[in-house]
């Protein structure tokens, strides 16, 4: 498969691993921010190829994992309303709220449908004018433009029955939180390539300068990640802290302007709560007031639910790269994909689920 196979070539990967081995003289702790990257690292066993002195820790970049409990509970409340069709990406249906998940809501009669694009939800709204159609707008900067486009299109068509439950989060504020946290161990970041394809990477220059930390924009294939690791090690070994772009086939400095424009037109930056971490200032997106008619939280006057998240696992530490999944006492015993205690065990992209799926016998 063109544009994929060359980035999965074992010979290139092994050569890159050799380069990393050769270049690293000290222990380094690197974080891949995005859950998709974590998945690739696990799937291909990249950790086994590179020297033990280069430690990879998994970042908070799994949208499923960081969507707060309240938001899942609100989704379940909305899904249970009469004459309502609740639409979502498939991943979100298994995420436990405080008592149940959307799959269970569906088994109790709620009309919950998996869609592959927010425009599919708009189409469902057109086809069902007597029903309220709500789309669960989650994700990082990657999914925000398409979600913005769906709201924009719905307004353009004057759809009265389409709205979005928005729980968008942004990557740079989460990286800042990790860097500021007193227990931070991360010395270099692989920035999420898909997010940067939208946003460019100018936002990361401030972080690199302020915290003197190298950041390499990385892709999602094994060769991409090994190359990014090699670039980070080269920077660390020579004391540099720059933003570099490994994923240049998809990412440039300024990003996708059209996507940024539609995001800016529809969304505005807001504080957001991250599951397992807590509220982070200016770390999310909400619909602008002029789109209030499409904001499910306003349309349905959802009372602001506050749900206490019980302290049962160390997912906050895992999401910040301060603890490996297997170091959690609950990992693989009381916390499994069948009975997740923490969100990182729920999504296939979650660090704990990826460890469980690919590495638990290590």
């Amino acid at each position: 498969m063109k544009y994929v196979d060359e980035y999965r070539d074992p010979a290139i990967a092994i050569a890159l691993a050799g380069q990393i081995n050769h270049a690293s003289t000290k222990p380094w702790v690197l974080m891949e921010v995005c859950g998709g990257q974590t998945h690739t690292l696990m799937r291909y066993g990249i950790g086994d190829l590179i020297p033990d002195s280069v430690e990879l820790v998994h970042g908070p970049g799994c949208p499923v994992c960081v969507t707060p409990l309240e938001m899942i509970d609100q989704a379940i409340v909305l899904a249970g309303r009469p004459d309502t069709i609740f639409t979502s990406y498939g991943d979100m249906l298994r995420v436990p709220g405080s008592r149940r998940d959307l799959f269970q809501a569906r088994s109790e009669g709620a009309d919950v449908r998996i869609v592959y694009s927010p425009m599919d939800a708009v189409q469902i709204a057109r086809a069902n004018p007597a029903k309220q159609v709500v789309f669960f707008g989650v994700g990082f900067e990657t999914t925000a433009p398409a979600n913005a486009m769906a709201v924009w299109q719905a307004r353009k068509e004057g759809l009265q029955n389409f709205s979005m439950l928005v729980s968008h989060v942004l990557v740079p504020p989460a990286m800042r939180l990790i860097l500021q946290s007193p227990g931070n161990r991360v010395q270099g970041f692989i920035a999420p390539g898909h997010v940067c394809a939208i946003m460019g990477f100018r936002e990361y220059a401030d972080l690199a300068r302020e915290f003197h930390v190298p950041i390499v924009v990385g892709g999602f294939e094994p060769v991409d990640l090994l190359e990014a690791i090699s670039m980070l090690v080269a920077q660390l070994e020579t004391g540099r802290a720059e933003v570099e772009n490994q994923y240049s086939r998809s990412v440039d400095y300024l990003g996708n302007r059209a996507a940024q424009n539609i995001m800016r037109e529809v969304f505005t930056v807001t504080n957001r709560k991250w599951r397992g971490i807590g509220e982070i200032g200016s770390s999310g997106l909400r619909l602008k007031d002029e789109f209030a008619a499409f904001d499910a939280e306003k349309v349905f006057e959802l009372q602001s639910l506050h749900v206490e998240e019980p302290r049962e696992c160390v997912s906050a530490l895992v999401l910040q790269g301060r603890c490996k999944p297997a170091q959690c006492p609950a990992f693989g015993t009381t916390c499994t994909p069948m009975h997740p205690l923490g969100a990182p065990m729920v999504s296939a992209e979650g660090a704990c689920a990826a460890w469980y799926q690919y590495k638990r016998h290590d």
């Binding site: 498969m1 999965r8 074992p10 092994i14 998709g36 696990m42 799937r43 291909y44 066993g45 990249i46 086994d48 990406y89 498939g90 991943d91 298994r94 436990p96 405080s98 008592r99 998940d101 799959f103 269970q104 569906r106 088994s107 998996i114 869609v115 592959y116 989650v138 994700g139 999914t143 227990g183 094994p222 599951r275 397992g276 971490i277 807590g278 206490e308 998240e309 019980p310 302290r311 049962e312 696992c313 160390v314 997912s315 906050a316 530490l317 603890c323 009381t334 916390c335 994909p337 069948m338 009975h339 997740p340 205690l341 923490g342 969100a343 999504s347 296939a348 992209e349 590495k359 016998h361």
Partner: protein, 354 residues
């Protein structure tokens, strides 16, 4: 545990577990771990007997000196007609294959139809035509049946249940519990074709692919394999839940580990492409015309040759072996030389967000 103290100080918290399901969710029908739990908790403990407890795809028991294979399967596919097949041919092939996996010669099939009010009779005729053709081609007779009609909205066009009966030739004894360390795992061809063909034809998922369902009756292939060697320990067709579920079932039933080699597993480029796009893993995508055989090492070459000489096994490949280590666990050697676990999924494979 200083780190744990730190989280408490910072009030970093974690979500609650979801309580056990008290209602059926769709994942209970996925062929993954939820399905296995449902089977164990609801059915097996109530129906338990030595024939059922073998948990093969068919029951095999003696009647009047003959070894009879007996199986049943329900078909609820949407859309009813898909590239490369339809619910009718699938209902025949599925049951023929479950019999064939015991080495049985399929003989007779029953067909029960639950039809939804409003279904065009022309459509039912097309389904019945397809079943008749599939049965004739497979050399089985549909000898009894039943029809029920449910109110509009209480079905999904038509559901079909087929039950089949066949005879296992003397001397054949295959079961998922017969596998021993050192045995070789052979796969009959490309995986994922059926699942991707179905997905590509579903409403709301618009991508064009030339992939056809692999739906096919496998008893001819099985017969030529059995003629080539007596060293076949077990056969399974990796349908719902895909190759990973089948390998996990065999590993569990036999108490062995199974190691497969990623690059030896045949996956078409189009299927890989569709899986990349949708965030799916072909190891979990359904097949309807493939089989996995686990064979004694000395029999592997002969069985593989016999398979490759049959049209439905032309792309057969040795994909791995059973091992003593890690009983019940399936692992995969990647092209990078690393190893990963190939687990049962809890429920359905869900397309990832990004």
């Amino acid at each position: 545990m200083t780190e744990t103290l730190t989280i408490k100080q910072l009030a970093f918290t974690c979500p609650l577990p979801v309580p056990a399901h008290d209602r059926i969710v769709l994942g209970h029908g996925s062929g993954g771990r939820l399905s296995a739990d449902l089977l164990r908790d609801v059915f097996l403990q109530r129906f338990s007997n030595p024939v059922l407890d073998r948990l093969d795809d068919q029951a095999v028991f003696p009647i009047g000196g003959a070894h009879v294979a007996f199986t049943t399967d329900s078909f609820v596919v949407q859309p009813l007609f898909f590239p490369g097949g339809d619910i009718g041919s699938l209902a025949v092939h599925g049951t023929v294959n479950d019999l064939a996996m015991a080495g049985a010669t399929p003989l007779y099939i029953s067909a029960a139809f639950i039809v939804e009010e409003g279904l065009p009779i022309g459509m039912l005729r097309r389904v019945a035509d397809s079943m008749a053709n599939a049965a004739e081609a497979a050399g089985v007779m549909i000898v009894t049946g039943d029809t029920k009609v449910v109110e509009r909205g209480k079905g999904d066009g038509v559901f079909i249940t087929t039950t089949g009966i066949g005879i296992v030739p003397p001397g054949i004894r295959m079961s998922a519990s017969e596998v021993q360390p050192g045995d070789i795992v052979i796969l009959s061809g490309y995986i994922g074709d059926h699942g991707i063909a179905i997905l590509s034809s579903r409403e709301g998922l618009q991508f064009d692919t030339t992939i056809l369902s692999d739906s096919a009756p496998l008893h001819g292939l099985v017969a030529s394999m059995l003629a080539a060697s007596t060293g076949i320990r077990c056969m399974r067709d990796p349908t719902r839940g895909g190759l990973s579920s089948t390998l996990n079932e065999i590993a569990t039933a036999s108490g062995v580990g199974i190691e497969v080699v990623e690059h030896k597993i045949p996956v078409r480029d189009e299927v890989r492409g569709a899986c990349e796009l949708l965030g799916l893993d072909p190891m979990y995508v359904a097949n309807e015309g493939k089989l996995v055989a686990v064979v004694a090492p000395e029999a592997a070459e002969a069985v593989l040759d016999a398979m490759r000489n049959h049209p439905l096994g032309a792309d057969a490949a040795m994909i791995g072996m059973a091992v003593r280590d890690d009983p019940g666990l399936v692992t995969m050697k990647t092209a990078f030389g690393s190893t990963r676990i190939v687990d049962l999924l809890p429920g359905d494979q869900l397309p990832r967000i990004c």
